[in-house]
């Protein structure tokens, strides 16, 4: 067993038992990052910071005064502002931006003793499902289809995070999930991804995409590691008005609860005609595993599911069009000269934003514009309320929902999509939970016939991450998924 294939839980124990040091653990990961540079997982590597923090970690461990993540090397999605470290959101428009502040989540991870390895690649401003819209080039999925050398996407938007964790470049990584940006890449890269309840992790210092949907979460190789990492990331933050004051439960403790006596809802709307047969088969397998472990599957209906994607593609671009107005070339980032103020704005934003971001800003601008607000944005927020109500009603009949995470396995970089909408369909199973604000995980559960990972999604009601973790752990145990590292 090499240092880079340890889980966080294993490394935690070995560090405390002084079997390994934080410095050697970090060095091993820095070496792996260099070795697998071709994945393009990182936008910015921070080896100096990593080494300094590893040293501090060893000192803390020696004193016996070490919080949960002491010495654990993590990657940070480049959407989290990190003090003094380039923060780009993988966009040209944030050229050279070094925040003078640290996001709440990364500050908590730092306080928990973790070691930051660097900033991970993503779809520009987290808009995408493939990490191909990054200004810094696409990230490559460490998985390859059997008998093929073709580069596959790691999913997105947290594709850098997924690739780094799957490939052994980092023990865990932060992600953010707006419509599936943690869960879908986790599924594509054969790792665990957790989107907690909206309001569980602070959004302060996270570059905003769609404020009512954005939620940070952990991406790790095991369910236990996600529980450990989320514990350190979450909690009330008075700087975020949408942050919950609820007490945070002990997630790791919930892992051993099992699923005996739980009712697992199987939403029929997630099995449309033409669903990928391997995806459908794995889902059935998942249902069987949970049944074997003592749970009872129940059929439920989420009748507004088919409207989730169009709803999302109004709400998210609308909020994004406003959130991204601040990238104007005045206070930070890129500036393209212009004769007038408006010309400077228009040239800066045309040069700074990539095509997908521009497209979404325009859509968002349009749906909020005079005469269209009621028909689009207001309508979408109403349908969103119906989607949330669907989940509420389903959770009166069951404790958790089990669904596939994504409709397909990872696809090839450069795969042609007829139109933007085809790409958006990647998020069909993850978006509804985002709209409802409920927690969800993706657990790697099997491989396609071509050897590519597939994930199963576990959804629970608001603030009930404990049940989500218990079900996820049971799936992980049953699946005995063979990780890359």
């Amino acid at each position: 067993m090499t240092l880079t294939s340890l889980t966080i839980a294993e490394a935690r124990d070995q560090l405390r038992a002084k079997k390994i040091s934080a410095v050697e653990l970090t060095e091993a990961h820095l070496a792996e990052m260099t070795k697998q540079k071709a994945l393009n997982a990182f936008v910015t590597e921070t080896p100096d910071i990593a080494r300094a923090r590893a040293k501090e970690a060893d000192a803390a461990l020696a004193k016996g005064d070490a919080p949960a993540l002491t010495g654990i090397p993590l990657g940070i999605k480049d959407l989290f502002c990190t003090e003094g470290v380039l923060t780009t959101a993988s966009s040209h428009i944030l050229d050279g931006f070094k925040p003078r502040y640290e996001s709440t989540v990364t500050a908590k991870l730092k306080a928990a003793g973790s070691v930051m390895l660097g900033k991970l690649n993503l779809d520009e401003f987290a808009m995408g499902s493939s990490t191909t819209t990054s200004y810094y080039g696409p990230t490559i999925n460490p998985w390859k289809a059997k008998g093929s050398g073709a580069d596959l996407v790691p999913g997105g938007s947290s594709g850098g995070s997924a690739a780094a964790v799957a490939g052994g470049l980092a023990m865990g990584a932060t992600g953010t999930d707006t419509g599936g940006s943690i869960r879908q890449p986790a599924a594509f890269a054969g790792i665990v991804g957790v989107k907690p309840t909206y309001g569980r992790c602070s959004r302060w210092g996270v570059v905003a995409f769609a404020s009512s949907l954005d939620q940070p979460g952990p991406m790790t190789r095991t369910v236990r590691d996600s529980a450990i990492m989320l514990q350190a990331m979450c909690g009330h933050d008075p700087k975020d008005s949408t942050s919950s004051k609820l007490a945070v439960p002990d997630f790791e403790k919930a892992l051993s609860r099992g699923v005996k006596g739980l009712k697992i809802g199987i939403p029929k709307e997630y099995r449309p005609d033409g669903l990928n047969a391997e995806v459908a088969a794995l889902w059935d397998q998942g249902i069987a595993w949970l049944k074997d472990a003592g749970a009872t599957p129940v059929d439920v209906s989420l009748p507004h599911t088919k409207y989730a994607l169009p709803t999302y593609y109004i709400v998210a671009p609308a909020e994004a069009s406003s959130n991204l107005a601040r990238y104007d070339g005045v206070r930070f980032g890129l500036r393209v000269a212009g004769q007038s103020l408006d010309e400077m704005y228009s040239k800066t934003r045309a040069a700074g934003f990539g095509p997908e971001v521009r497209r979404r800003i325009l859509i968002g601008t349009y749906v909020l514009s005079a005469g269209y607000y009621d028909a689009y944005y207001l309508k979408a927020q109403k349908v969103r309320a119906l989607i949330a109500r669907d989940f509420e009603q389903a959770f009166t009949q069951c404790d958790a929902l089990l669904t596939p995470t994504a409709p397909t396995p990872a696809f090839a970089i450069g795969a042609k999509f007829d139109d933007p909408v085809a790409m958006y369909l990647n998020d069909v199973f993850t978006v509804p939970a985002s709209l409802a604000g409920i927690p969800g995980s993706s657990v790697p559960a099997g491989l396609t016939s071509t050897g590519l990972p597939l994930g199963l999604q576990v959804l629970t009601k608001r603030w009930d991450e404990e049940t989500m973790f218990a079900v996820s752990q049971t799936l992980e145990d049953a699946a005995a998924f063979k990780r890359l590292v």
Binding site: G199, H304, L378, G437
Partner: protein, 95 residues
């Protein structure tokens, strides 16, 4: 719903994103495709539904009226592409 060139030009101006004249037509096509797909929402009956506000059920927190921030003009302007002294600058605005 299909957008014409003039509408795309108008929203691009509103969003302050320069779009070359040649790109307007294809962009109008793309955006119309997305909007056409979104259009299916109109079939949902929402007459008795209150819109969702925000993503959460938490109560809006209030901050005490204490001046405990600011006093860092250097840090605030440190990332500015063209700061002059403690000021940000933009091309001259004529009122």
């Amino acid at each position: 719903m299909s957008l014409d060139k003039a509408t795309v030009r108008r929203i691009a101006t509103l969003a302050r994103i320069e779009v070359p004249e040649a790109d307007l037509e294809p962009l109008a096509g793309e955006l119309s495709g997305i909007l056409g797909w979104i259009e299916q929402l109109q079939e949902v009956d929402t007459s008795a539904v209150a819109p969702m506000t925000g993503g959460t059920d938490v109560k809006l927190p209030w901050r005490a009226d204490v001046a405990n921030d600011g006093g860092m003009a250097e840090a605030v302007t440190a990332n500015a592409p063209d700061a002059q002294g403690a000021f940000f600058t933009v091309p001259k605005v004529v009122e």
